[in-house]
């Protein structure tokens, strides 16, 4: 039966693959002028991928010094920073330097230094305040931003490095900025990174490409803190299943050896 099925099946599979290919190539045409995203070599891509600790720590420095003025990271805790190689003491010190909302003993709103177990401090108390401070634009929470955009880390990298002068004749609305990769090209975020925006503690060259690379590595870690554990477990599971498949197939061959079917 498989013999008669196979050629037609392969035929259908090929047609299916061709269709998928067509839909993929047709997709950019739909988004009209959507430019091709930069393709960056990320340490965390592929089944063996891990986060480059040094890059993620530099990325945290950028988030801390630049992005956190506008963007919250509400799903993350300070203690998560242990995952990029900081010590518990470093994490406690970082947290203690932030002040988070609290209530005093009279029930009045006050602030206290953050603990490692606190969520990252949000720059604005609510969306209205965030919009008011950003000319009407709402800086999105960045906790899962890498997963929330098609193209993932490449797209975020593109946004951060994609600020250029608008082409001649492009009508830019007041208060907005031209960005190659943003849908419609008019983004409410002013260019956050330039060559030399931060001075790295570890002395790494602070070009805009390096900065964008580092902060995206950090944001990818925040979006998927489980990635390394997931990859490690995945490799074990896949190896085990390969072994089990082989074993069960051998048993099946032996069992069925004398059956004519």
């Amino acid at each position: 039966m498989m013999r008669t099925l196979r050629p037609t099946f392969i035929g259908a599979a090929l047609v299916g693959a061709a269709l998928l290919g067509a839909s993929v190539t047709a997709a950019p045409a739909r988004a009209e002028e959507a430019p091709e995203l930069p393709s960056v070599n990320w340490s965390f891509s592929g089944p063996f991928g891990t986060y480059d600790r040094a890059a993620a720590q530099r990325g945290f420095q950028i988030y801390n010094e630049v992005c956190s003025n506008c963007h919250s990271l509400k799903e993350a805790y300070y203690r998560d920073l242990i995952g990029i190689g900081l010590s518990m003491q470093q994490v406690k010190d970082i947290a203690a330097s932030k002040r988070v909302p609290a209530l005093d003993e009279n029930g009045q709103p006050t602030e206290r230094p953050a603990l490692a177990s606190d969520h990252f401090r949000a720059p604005f108390p609510n969306d209205l305040a965030a919009r008011a401070a950003n000319g009407g634009g709402l800086p999105p929470d960045l906790s899962v931003i890498v997963k929330a955009r098609e193209g993932g880390p490449d797209y975020i990298y593109g946004i951060l490095t994609g600020f250029v002068d608008p082409p001649a004749g492009f009508h830019l609305m007041p208060g907005l900025n031209y960005n190659t990769y943003f849908a419609g090209h008019q983004i409410a975020m002013p260019q956050p990174l330039r060559d030399g925006t931060v001075t790295y503690i570890d002395g790494t060259n602070n070009s805009i490409d390096q900065e964008a690379h580092d902060v995206v590595t950090f944001l990818s870690f925040i979006a998927s803190p489980e990635l390394e554990e997931r990859h490690r477990m995945g490799i074990k599971v896949v190896l085990f299943l390969l072994f089990l498949t082989g074993l069960s197939y051998a048993v099946k061959r032996k069992l069925w050896a004398n059956v004519h079917h």
């Binding site: 259908a12 299916g16 839909s23 999105p140 929330a148 098609e150 849908a183 997931r230 995945g234 048993v251």
Partner: protein
């Protein structure tokens, strides 16, 4: 029927139970010695895979529900908490999310297997009908599950799909408000969807039980589509098919594991990582991949009511399939013309899937319409007519005769009425 069961079970405890409630005997009969055609190919392993997937969905789902909060202000964050703070929560959640995709992949293959080998034909009509019902309940379950993480696609897919009912004249609007529990998709909607999403898998479990019970009355079809003639044509289910199905299950888990561990978000939509926002419509609302062909059919007609009618018809029509296909020969192996049209149908469904992914503009509109028309043509016109006209190939005398390479008998022998039943 009153009286103790005479059990052959040796183990004294099991014997005691079996005498009073013959479950051990039942399991032995239905899964141990159950006579099974000996010529199954691996396409017969997909039913077992679907059953395993259902159990996996229930198991992961129950643990997810322990940490999930069905409230519009907390649902999104609670799913993130599952991913970050619950021990192996990311594994539970990714397994559940990708498990839904695996479930549909497996069930689609299972259904097309039935179409290819004519498994829906007499006497297995009721088995097929139960299968289509399972498919419908599965779709409802998955649709409501997709709403739970309360991302942008959750919210807008729920809005678009529930809104469809408003096209029904007069009672449409009240029905939609009744479904929503309000005047838009909101907290009452999320709450009831969670409740139903928890309930329906157990309904599925019951339906699957009936599906298997019906199967064990008629016995399985097989790649030749002829009934076994005796013990020489069958093998006991255990160990032959328990072992063969294990091989298939291992491969299934391999694919599943690669998805969960290395590409967990491949089949999802990035917009669902943005919390639902009723004030901001995403530019391009699409359902999960497994609904795309039906979404394409829905949008194939410019009229809303016509669209939903067609979409539901495209599934309901499958209920009538055992009577629409007038050919008595089951397996496409012996139906050279049907075999070609079967693959045309497969390609049509793939085309519909691709069209469903695209915005309804340009070439995609007529392509979707042609594919939709062809889908209905296949079932409503082609199958009834082809069954009358097609010259089928001679059927083998029996399964074992075909297996031993005796070759088919002359046409006369093959068309014995009994063979065609």
């Amino acid at each position: 029927m009153v009286g103790l069961h005479h059990s052959d079970v040796k183990n004294p405890v099991l014997h005691w139970i079996d005498t009073r409630l013959p479950v051990v005997t039942m399991i032995q009969k239905e899964y141990g010695s159950f006579p099974t055609p000996k010529n199954f190919n691996y396409f017969w392993a997909f039913g077992g895979m679907a059953m395993v997937t259902l159990l996996l969905m229930i198991a992961t789902g129950i643990f997810l529900a322990m940490s999930y909060t069905p409230h519009i202000t907390m649902a999104f964050d609670s799913v993130e908490r599952i991913m970050r703070d619950v021990n192996y929560g990311w594994l539970l959640r990714y397994a559940h999310e990708n498990g839904a995709s695996m479930f549909f992949i497996v069930v689609y293959v299972h259904m097309f297997r039935g179409l290819y080998y004519g498994s829906y034909k007499a006497p297995r009509e009721l088995l097929w009908i139960l299968g289509i019902t399972i498919f419908l309940v599965m779709m409802a379950t998955a649709f409501m599950g997709y709403v739970l993480p309360w991302g942008q696609m959750s919210f807008w897919a729920a809005t678009v799909i529930t809104n469809l009912f408003s096209a029904i004249p007069v009672i449409g609007e009240p029905i939609v408000q009744w479904l929503w529990g309000g005047f838009s998709v909101g907290n009452p909607t999320l709450n009831r969807f969670f409740s139903l999403h928890y309930l329906l898998p157990f309904v599925l479990f019951g339906l699957v039980f009936l599906h298997v019970a019906a199967l064990h009355i008629t016995g399985s079809n097989n790649p030749l589509g002829i009934e076994p003639k005796g013990p020489q044509d069958t093998l006991p289910f255990h160990p032959y098919y328990t072992v063969k199905d294990s091989v298939a299950l291992c491969l299934f888990f391999l694919v599943f594991a690669v998805l969960v561990f290395f590409f967990p978000d491949l089949l999802g939509h990035s917009d669902n990582y943005i919390q639902a926002n009723p004030l901001q419509t995403p530019p391009h609302i699409v359902p999960d991949w497994y609904f795309l062909p039906f979404y394409a059919i829905l949008r194939a007609v410019p009229n809303k009511l016509g669209g939903i009618a067609l979409m539901f018809a495209s599934i309901l029509i499958l209920y009538a399939l055992p009577w629409l296909d007038t050919c008595k020969v089951r397996s496409a192996t012996f139906r050279p013309i049907y075999r070609i049209f079967f693959w045309v149908l497969v390609v049509t469904c793939l085309v519909l899937g691709v069209v469903g992914e695209q915005p309804p503009e340009g070439i995609w509109v007529p392509l979707g319409q042609v594919a939709t028309a062809y889908y209905f043509f296949h079932f409503l016109i082609l199958l009834p007519v082809l069954g009358k006209l097609e010259r089928t190939l001679p059927l083998p005398e029996s399964i074992s005769q075909s297996v031993l390479g005796g070759g088919p008998l002359p046409t006369g022998a093959a068309s014995k009425p009994m063979e065609k039943a």
